[in-house]
């Protein structure tokens, strides 16, 4: 696999969530991921972008930037916002913790990113923004659903 990279930036509107997952999964397609790997990446991107929209920008207008790097068999996805930031990252990453239960958040976003990617790092500064870095090695999972059609 030749090394490669891609950056997209878009407005923090909820109808860009599907755009974000599609664009990243289209870029990663050249790594010949399995259906499971594509699904995992889509879910993780969706979680990070949704968090920037509802938590980072609290549904106000802002820019979200996604950088994607392919280095050999590893994809690194970085989702950045310049939103309100996270004051207690450890608590935020606990499964079921949400600061917005009134919006019917399940608090499972970081848990899903962690479950579906190999590595997850969160950096954040209050009133400056949040950077979520996720990494996944493509082609190491043996079992897939095989013939299931997407």
């Amino acid at each position: 696999m030749e090394n490669n990279s891609m950056t997209v930036e878009f407005e923090s509107s909820s109808n860009n969530e599907s755009f974000a997952r599609v664009v990243v999964s289209a870029f990663v397609a050249r790594m010949n991921p399995t259906l499971t790997e594509v699904a995992d990446i889509k879910t993780a991107v969706s979680e990070a972008v949704t968090n920037s929209i509802i938590h980072g920008y609290e549904n106000n207008t802002g820019r979200i930037r996604i950088e994607t790097y392919i280095v050999e068999d590893t994809v690194t996805i970085i989702v950045k916002d310049n939103g309100v930031g996270i004051d207690n990252i450890e608590r935020a990453m606990e499964p079921m913790y949400t600061s917005k239960p009134e919006l019917e958040r399940s608090g499972m976003g970081f848990a899903f990113m962690e479950a579906f990617m190999d590595e997850l790092f969160v950096e954040s500064k209050v009133s400056e923004g949040t950077i979520v870095t996720m990494r996944k090695v493509i082609g190491k999972s043996e079992n897939d659903w095989g013939s299931e059609i997407d």
Binding site: S14, E17, S18, T36, E47, I54, S106, D150
Partner: protein, 117 residues
């Protein structure tokens, strides 16, 4: 989004769309809130037949409906679950509150049985 919903014997059946993310969960929440205020709903069946993508916003949507039906001791059912959706659902812990059955018919049978006993 209108034909996503079906009402029958105080059962609300929601035929989920292809993708269930935060954007779409918000639209479904709005219209189900409306249905809950103008109709008596005891049980809710989420039909995943067409669904191939869901993230944690979908989990929040289902938990929210579960809390609503609990007032009337109702249940939430998840049916037509593909292997792909099973992966997300089993990690989410939703099966502690929602029942997974194969088909809409199975869910309706379970509800009818439960109501007669």
């Amino acid at each position: 989004m209108e034909n996503l919903y079906e009402m029958k014997d105080e059962i609300l059946i929601i035929h989920l769309p292809e993708e269930l993310d935060h954007h779409i969960a918000g639209l479904i929440r709005e219209s189900t809130d409306e249905l809950f205020t103008c109709k008596k709903i005891r049980d809710v069946v989420f039909d995943y037949k067409k669904t191939s993508f869901m993230d944690s916003s979908g989990i929040g949507l289902i938990m929210g409906r579960y809390r609503e039906v609990r007032y009337l001791k109702g249940d939430v059912y998840l049916v037509n679950i593909s292997d792909k959706m099973e992966r997300i659902l089993s990690i989410s812990g939703l099966y502690r509150v929602a029942k997974r059955l194969d088909t809409i018919g199975d869910a309706i049978k379970d509800i009818e049985f439960k109501r007669t006993t």
